[in-house]
Amino acid sequence: MFKKLKRLFANLFGKKDEIKLGIYGPPNTGKTTLANRISEEFTGEEMGTASEVPHETRVVQKKEKVRLQSNGKEISMNLLDMPGISTKVDYKEFVEHGINEDEAKVRSKEATKGVVEAIKWLDKVDAVLVVFDSTEDPYTQVNVTILGNLEAKDIPIILVANKTDLDDAEPESIKDAFPQYNFTKISAKEKENMEDLYKKVVESV
């Protein structure tokens, strides 16, 4: 209740120069690919390395002063690519991706710290893109937890159904699972429908 009032007063009396836009979601939903697309489009530089190995992003990646323009409007923001949130991190999964056991154990420890860091950032972001893999079942406890925490803090949310270029993509299942939120479907990899996402970001924040 207190947090909500604080946010309401901050919005009424203090206009922020820079918005902190967080990119959240489970591992391997394409968060870094999306962050790279946005960053490349508005700053000319990518942000991080995307990989098929889960938990490739293990610390929060930041890109400052990204001036996003759409529909005749412009917002200045700090773009934050978050480590993927999951309830489990098993080093054996990294070994299956060809990483040696010692390195897999180190990576696993770093990944658990990344998840904790991403959760702590839920209190500090101003708006969030929650990224889904459109080929996966969207109704998971990780997604329910991320959305529930953001909603409790009154943080604007856009659901981003990513990977729509894949044959088995079902982006509408995400909208059906969480119909109360702002929604768009994209392929960050193929740069499809990015303009709709930019428009929704500008409108939301």
Binding site: S86, D90, K113, V144, G148, N149
Partner: protein, 126 residues
């Protein structure tokens, strides 16, 4: 140092009633959950967790993750408060906890399918 796992014949499932849980602070419940799931049990609580508590459960399981404990799998049904109950809860600080939580080590428990009204899980016997 990581504890060596003992081989078990089966999976123990513990049920905790609402009555038993209502006396405990959330931190106590969290410790109870972690102790039980690290012992490779599946725990069924006659109580839902709110979003903030679920985030704390994920944080705690990540902090305790090691080679023998890869984290948790959890699922459940949440209480669905109407607008009046939500306002009342924000004023009184007492929210409706009706629901169910199933939690286990991800070594033992695997989610098969989950939606708002139905869940199916597999308990792995290794």
């Amino acid at each position: 140092m990581a504890k060596k796992k003992k081989k078990k014949d089966g999976v123990k499932i513990e049920f905790l009633s609402k009555l038993r849980l209502q006396e405990k602070a959330f931190e106590e419940k969290l410790d109870l959950i972690m102790d039980s799931v690290k012992d490779e049990n599946i725990l069924v609580l006659e109580e839902a967790l709110n979003a903030e508590e679920k985030a704390q459960l994920i944080e705690k399981s990540m902090e305790e993750c090691d080679e023998d404990f890869p984290g948790v799998e959890f699922s459940g049904f949440d209480s669905r408060e109407n607008w009046f109950e939500r306002i009342l809860a924000s004023i009184t600080g007492k929210e409706k906890k009706d629901g169910l939580l199933i939690v286990g080590s991800s070594d033992v428990m695997e989610k098969v399918k989950e939606d708002k009204d139905a869940i199916s899980m597999i308990a792995k016997l290794e």
